[in-house]
C-alpha cells in the first residue's frame, strides 16, 4: 500500500507520535501501540507459553510505558526502552507466581546435570537443519528458567551481563543455563524428528 493510501496515523513518524503522546494525544498512543504490539506480545507469549497471560502482560507493559512516556528523553531507541520494560514486567510476573526464573546458583560439571537422553533420539541427526516451527514448539516445552535465559539471549539478543542484571543471577550461571537450554532443545528437536519418522 502506498503512503498516500494509508490512514493518517500510519504515516505519522514515530518521533512525532512520541511527542504527541507526551501531550496526551490518544491517537498517537494508539499508533505507538500498533507499531510495537507484535514484538511485545511475541516476547510475552514465548516467555509464558500462555496466550491469556501474554495478553495481560502486554497490556501491563504498555500501560507502564504510557504512564512513563513523559520521562523518555531519547537517549536510547524507543523500541529498546519499551522492550526492556516488557522484559521486566514479564520477569516480575514470573517471580510473583513463584516460577523459577533461574535456578539457584549451581556448581558446573557433573553428568547428572546434563539433560537426560531419550532412547532412540541419538540415532536421529539434526544435521544443522532446524525447523522454525518445531523450534518454537520446543521452546514452549523448556522449563521456565531455561526458557527465560534462552529467549533473552538467543531470541532477544541480550548479552549475559545484561541478563544477569535483569534476572538476578551471575554471568556464569547465565552461560550455564543457556548451554543447558540449547542442549535440552537439541534433545527435544531430535525426539520430535524421531516421532515424525516413525509415524505411518
Amino acid at each position: 500500500m502506498s503512503d498516500a493510501k494509508k490512514p493518517p496515523n500510519e504515516r505519522l513518524p514515530e518521533a512525532e507520535a512520541i511527542e504527541r503522546a507526551k501531550q496526551g494525544d490518544a491517537s498517537a498512543f494508539e499508533h505507538l501501540y500498533n507499531l510495537h504490539k507484535r514484538r511485545v506480545y511475541s516476547l510475552c507469549l514465548r516467555m509464558t507459553a500462555n496466550t491469556a497471560a501474554a495478553e495481560d502482560l502486554t497490556q501491563e507493559a504498555f500501560l507502564q510505558l504510557f504512564r512513563k512516556i513523559g520521562t523518555f528523553r531519547g537517549e536510547s531507541a524507543f523500541s529498546t526502552w519499551l522492550h526492556r520494560m516488557a522484559v521486566n514486567v514479564v520477569l516480575m510476573q514470573l517471580r510473583k507466581k513463584g516460577l523459577a526464573v533461574v535456578p539457584i546458583e549451581e556448581t558446573m560439571g557433573g553428568e547428572e546435570e546434563s539433560p537426560k537422553k531419550e532412547p532412540g533420539a541419538d540415532d536421529i541427526r539434526l544435521a544443522g537443519s532446524i525447523d522454525r516451527l518445531q523450534l518454537q514448539n520446543a521452546i514452549g516445552e523448556l522449563p521456565p528458567g531455561y526458557r527465560t535465559i534462552f529467549l533473552l539471549h538467543d531470541v532477544e539478543g541480550y548479552e549475559h551481563n545484561e541478563i544477569a542484571e535483569m534476572v538476578g543471577c551471575s554471568i556464569g550461571n547465565s552461560k550455564s543455563q543457556l548451554h543447558k537450554a540449547r542442549m535440552k532443545l537439541r534433545e527435544l528437536l531430535k525426539t520430535s524428528r524421531a516421532e515424525k519418522a516413525t509415524r505411518p
Binding site: D25, A26, K37, Y41, Q59
Partner: protein
C-alpha cells in the same frame, strides 16, 4: 581430551576454543555434530517470527485505563465537522446513559429482592438472547456508523453480547436474590455496558 571434557568447556567459553579443543572438534564426529546443532539452534532462534497479535481487548483495556487516569484525550479533529454538527454534540449522552443504566440496575436489584421471578419468567428471559436493542443503543450505533462505519457491526455485536450477559445476570439475581456473587455479576455487567457505550461514543466523535 574426552567428549565430556569438551562439553564442559562449551559452557564456559561460549565458542572460543584452545588448540586442544579445536583438535578434538576436528577428530570427534559426535562433538562436531553437537557444535553444529547448537549453533543452528542459536541462529534459527534469531529468526523466530513475531506474527502473533494480541486480541483487540488488550488495546481496549489500555485505552479505557489511560482515559480513566486522565492520561490521554482525543486529538482535535483533522477535518471540519458536517454542517450543523457543532450545534448538537451529544457529549452528555454517555454519562447520562451510564448513570441511567446503573440507577435502573439498582432499582431492579431492589425490586428483585421482594419479587422473585417465576420459573416461566426466567425461562422467557433466557429464550430471547437476540432481542431487539433499546432505542438509546440504536441511536448510539447510528452515531458510530456516521464516523466509523466499519466498526458499527463490531459495536453492535459487543452490545448484544453484553445485553445477553445482563439478562443472564438479572435472571440469576431473580432466582437467588440473596446471592451476593450474582449481585456482583449484575453490577459488573452494567459497568461493562457503560464501558462499551463510552468506547462507542469515542468512535462516534469526529
Amino acid at each position: 581430551m574426552t567428549c565430556q571434557e569438551f562439553e564442559r568447556v562449551l559452557t564456559e567459553l561460549a565458542g572460543e576454543f584452545s588448540f586442544e579443543q579445536e583438535r578434538h572438534l576436528r577428530t570427534c564426529l559426535s562433538c562436531s555434530e553437537l557444535m553444529s546443532d547448537l549453533r543452528a539452534i542459536s541462529q534459527q532462534a534469531q529468526f523466530l517470527s513475531e506474527d502473533a497479535e494480541p486480541s483487540p481487548r488488550v488495546w481496549n483495556a489500555i485505552d479505557i485505563t489511560l482515559r480513566q487516569e486522565g492520561l490521554i484525550h482525543d486529538s482535535s479533529p483533522v477535518r471540519s465537522a458536517p454542517p450543523g454538527w457543532s450545534r448538537w454534540r451529544p457529549v452528555w449522552l454517555v454519562p447520562a446513559l451510564a448513570t441511567a443504566l446503573v440507577i435502573s440496575g439498582v432499582i431492579l436489584h431492589q425490586r428483585t429482592k421482594t419479587a422473585p421471578a417465576t420459573v416461566s419468567q426466567v425461562a422467557a428471559s433466557l429464550q430471547s438472547p437476540e432481542s431487539t436493542m433499546v432505542p438509546e443503543e440504536e441511536q448510539l450505533l447510528k452515531l458510530v456508523a456516521t464516523q466509523a462505519p466499519a466498526l458499527r457491526a463490531s459495536y453492535e455485536s459487543d452490545l448484544r453480547a453484553v445485553d445477553a450477559y445482563i439478562r443472564d445476570a438479572e435472571s440469576s439475581v431473580r432466582s437467588n436474590p440473596n446471592d451476593e456473587v450474582a449481585q456482583e455479576y449484575l453490577m459488573n455487567a452494567y459497568e461493562q455496558r457503560a464501558m462499551v457505550y463510552e468506547m462507542a461514543m469515542d468512535r462516534s466523535q469526529p
